[in-house]
């Protein structure tokens, strides 16, 4: 599972467009992952502020 540090996230949507499964959604200031997430960690690696972690 991917956890979002909401205090760090800049809502840039970069993870959304980089997700190979199209499993991330940015609704205003809320980042959501759906059940298609395969825990690949790509978004964790790419987040420019390190707001995502694998848990």
């Amino acid at each position: 599972m991917i956890s979002v540090n909401v205090d760090k996230c800049l809502h840039c949507g970069g993870c959304v467009g980089s997700c190979p499964k199209n499993a991330i959604f940015l609704n205003d200031f809320v980042l959501e992952f759906n059940e298609d997430c395969i825990d690949c960690g790509r978004c964790v690696k790419l987040c420019p502020v390190g707001a995502l972690t694998k848990v």
Binding site: P20, N27, V44, P48, V49
Partner: protein, 396 residues
């Protein structure tokens, strides 16, 4: 559920979407343009630097309201500090404006509306409607209400996220090598040249560069893009930018007014940007310059090309992939060679160490280039360092 019906629905009111909507509407189509945010053009996800030459090509008249600064030139600097100043006389049309994107984007949306497009704000596309295997519209949430918009054709202008195409079954997934993670600060109290855009390349920004684009009165957009595969561990763009700022004396008194993130694709466009009843434009089609990360001109061109063709096709109502091929051909004829060349150059640049980058900048300084374009720079490099352009020398 409330259902709207139109000829074309355009998802995203950035430059690509507004241009597409404008040209569809101009051609007599009934167009709905969606914007998921509460404001067009904000919050910013852009460094705001553009060249000038393409504006005329897509019929955009420069307006003082959205031009923050008219640049005199550019400064290219290596991580080690070798600097090359490029002046207007040599830079030709590659030098340009620093924009106010929040006003620029609104001006383009206004033009779309003037042409007859209907704009729906705070309306977020949540999926597509497929019936009998055919794309017939999109699902959206508009001010919290679930709606459907049925259309003969869908224009995916949803930016880097590029979700609409994927919902419709296309693959817009990027390779890790073709992604740059970016962060930008709007800073004040800066001691930088007021009318030069600065680019710093090398190990300070692995696989990307640091930019300083002046906004007047000691304010500038200071940002960085880094390639994930060139960073050990996370692509921590913020770490690299903070490190540079801490070591560059011009930032001694600087303060941050705004922080923004954003990603760019760095490949020469998708292999396919059309499907039955679907057209991809702008960042959603991944048509960003792989070297500069600039996408506004490509967004406007693809938006215009798509809009013009759709208006033509509306006469017969055939929006099949086959009918959409002239769009595919037009943007590729206009842009693909350059995108491909710059993609190859980016791949090579990302492998060079600081000493080689330093050498290259020194070479450019001493060479007699009278009109500095990426093309001419690569030509000069080709003569002295053929290895750097290996694999795409034919395009130079």
């Amino acid at each position: 559920m409330k259902t709207y019906t139109c000829d074309a629905v355009v998802v995203g009111a950035g430059p690509a979407g507004s241009m597409a909507a404008k040209f569809c509407a101009k051609g007599g189509m009934d167009v709905i343009l969606l914007e998921k945010k509460a404001e067009i053009g904000a919050p910013l996800r852009c460094a705001e630097g553009v060249s000038k030459s393409w504006l005329d090509e897509v019929g955009i008249k420069p307006e003082p309201a959205w031009i923050r600064g008219d640049m005199k030139g550019a400064i290219i600097k290596s991580t080690k500090g070798t600097t090359y100043q490029l002046d207007e006389s040599k830079a030709g049309n590659e030098v340009g404006y620093v924009l106010e994107r929040h006003l620029f984007d609104k001006a383009l949306a206004r033009d779309a509306a003037k042409a007859g497009a209907k704009i729906m704000m705070r309306t977020s596309c949540t999926g597509v409607i497929i019936e009998d295997g055919k794309l017939v519209g999109i699902k959206a949430k508009s001010m919290g209400e679930e709606i459907e918009i049925r259309a003969k054709v869908v224009v995916a202008a949803d930016g880097y996220e590029s979700q609409v195409a994927r919902w419709a079954g296309m693959d817009t997934t990027l390779k890790l090598n073709d992604i740059d993670s970016c962060i930008q600060y709007r800073m004040c109290n800066l001691d930088v040249a007021p009318d030069y855009c600065e680019f710093i390349i090398g190990s300070c920004a692995p696989g990307g560069y640091i930019w300083i684009f002046p906004k007047g009165e000691g304010i500038a957009n200071v940002g960085i893009g880094v390639m994930g595969t060139k960073c050990t561990g996370k692509a921590d763009a913020k770490y690299y930018l903070d490190k540079w700022i801490a070591e560059d004396p011009r930032f001694k008194d600087a303060q941050i007014l705004e922080i923004m993130g954003g990603f760019v694709s760095t490949l020469p466009g998708l292999d396919e940007t059309t499907a039955d009843n679907l057209v991809l434009v702008g960042d959603a089609a991944r048509v960003i310059d792989p070297i500069t990360g600039g996408g506004i001109c490509h967004a406007c061109r693809t938006g215009m090309y798509a809009g013009e063709l759709l208006a033509e096709l509306n006469k017969t109502g055939d929006f099949s992939k086959k009918a959409l091929q002239p769009y595919e051909k037009r943007w590729r004829d206009r842009m693909e060679d350059k995108l491909f060349r710059n993609w190859m150059a980016k791949e090579k640049l990302a492998t060079l160490d600081d000493d080689t980058i330093d050498e290259i900048i020194k070479l450019i300084k001493t060479s007699e280039i009278t009109n500095v374009t990426v093309y001419n720079l690569l030509k000069a490099i080709k003569e002295k360092y053929p290895k750097v352009v290996e694999g795409f020398e034919d395009l130079i």
